[in-house]
Symmetry: C2
Subunit: 282 residues, 2 copies
């Protein structure tokens, strides 16, 4: 248990384990690391090497879905108590970004606003970008947001979308020819945004290369726990989930919501997330 | 399916059902409502009547846990698409409130900041107050925050805490003699904050009168879905969970985390959420 500055928090139980590692283990790790580092010199693009991300960005736009952001990010908030990670909150301007959508007037005072730390033009280099969804993905004026994702993608180690975040970026072409998923309730609209994407209806999350797409809203948490497991190991991910008292879904194919909302791909008549196959412009 | 202002979203499937209600049903409802309204005139304190909340507040303080807030609130964000609800974000001042804790230096740039809409002095009357937890509950200087909760409680219809939110308010005495729960990993510290509280170790959430306390972090989502079911009916709550693609835990006693972290009450030697029974000041 860690005690620091008067605050109790769940210490990293692996620290003592590493401290006990023998010299031989350390030596072997050093050799392996040196070889990996040397191997990565010759490539600037993503390979199967599994680079470790340390700088994270979250992309915000008006009408983003709060849990799309804070589900996955709170996993990282907690991980960041024991690892050096940086987070940048990115938006078109530095004005606070609201979860509210101007087009919806039913709830004039029900929203939350988040403060960006950087704009599209000022954000430092990123390893990992999280793109949330939300009803705001269906609003007009998102071209600068899409351009930002398209332009920054080649320099990223990983890109993750939650919910309709995949629909938001599909028009950039980044998902073309890739397997991807998204929100199941409005699946017909999601898939209409990327006719050349290999949409996967039955999936909690999908990994294709360095792009992770997840299903609707809460699915972003399972995707992030899976990502943490992929990068830092399943023990680390399990420890985080137990700390956050979250029961993970560890099977990427687990998805009762696809069936519930009638999401299929290719779309069948009458299917498409309860929307009767209708789609809306983004 | 609702179509509004160019945006598709999951319409309230119950609307058409209500629209079909016969005149007799409407008449009966009017009578019942009139009787209930008349009965409530004579009492200013909470009874078993189940008043409907429409104004919600979230209490923020530095070092709050993001998912404690946005897990439950995003349920309400989505509910608010079809119901007139107001949300006030409340803090000691109107400065953005960060998830960061000054005392923890390991992660200097990993935090998010939320914009308050009201201070303790300016917040309009509230029906429902959400008190999150987080490492910030263990920081000094929280007396004004506790005083705010203590002073506003008598005018609330409901008070809900998430995670160490129960430990934050325990020193006010509001939980004395009541059943309550909280974070299981630092259970010993949580329970040390309220020696006169009837702490329930094995619980996803606990309801005592109009105070709902939930277990660690992610448990706040299950508590909020249960609350929505209590107020607006289980069908409404289920529809929200399916929309947010969240698998609810509907059993308030479900809690594998209490056993995992060794949380018991009264505390047994060596128990207390992995902290060996140690406690920290709040």
């Amino acid at each position: 248990m860690l005690y620091s500055g008067g605050l109790y928090f769940g210490g990293n139980r692996y620290k003592s384990r590493y401290a006990d590692a023998s010299f031989a283990t350390w030596f072997l790790r050093t050799i392996v690391f040196t070889i990996m580092a040397a191997a990565s010199v010759n490539t600037a693009t993503y390979t199967d090497e599994k680079p470790i991300p340390t700088t994270f960005g979250v992309l915000l736009f008006p009408g983003f879905q709060a849990l799309d952001v804070f589900g996955p990010i709170d996993v990282l908030n907690t991980l960041a108590l024991s690892k050096k990670l940086n987070l940048y909150i990115i938006a078109e301007t530095l004005d606070p970004v609201t979860t509210k959508i101007a087009a919806i007037n039913t709830s004039p005072e029900f929203s939350e606003s988040i403060v960006p730390t950087h704009t599209f033009d000022t954000v430092p280099p990123l390893d990992f970008l999280l793109v949330p969804g939300g009803l705001g993905t269906q609003a007009p004026g998102l071209d600068p947001t899409r351009d930002f994702v398209k332009n920054i993608y080649p320099s990223l180690k990983y890109l993750m979308t939650v919910c309709t975040g995949s629909a938001l970026i599909a028009p950039t072409g980044l998902l073309d020819g890739r397997r991807a998923t998204g929100n199941k309730k409005i699946w017909a609209w999601v898939t209409s945004q990327g006719p050349n994407v290999n949409w996967v209806a039955q999936a909690r999350w999908v990994v294709d290369g360095n792009i992770w797409t997840s299903s609707g809203i809460a699915a972003g948490m399972d995707a992030m726990y899976a990502f943490v497991g992929y990068i830092w190991g399943e023990e680390q991910s399990k420890d985080l989930a137990m700390t956050l008292e979250y029961e993970r879904h560890t099977d990427a194919d687990w998805d009762p919501f696809a069936e519930y909302w009638g999401a299929t791909w290719p779309l069948t008549p009458g299917a498409g997330g309860g929307n009767g196959g209708a789609g809306a412009g983004g």
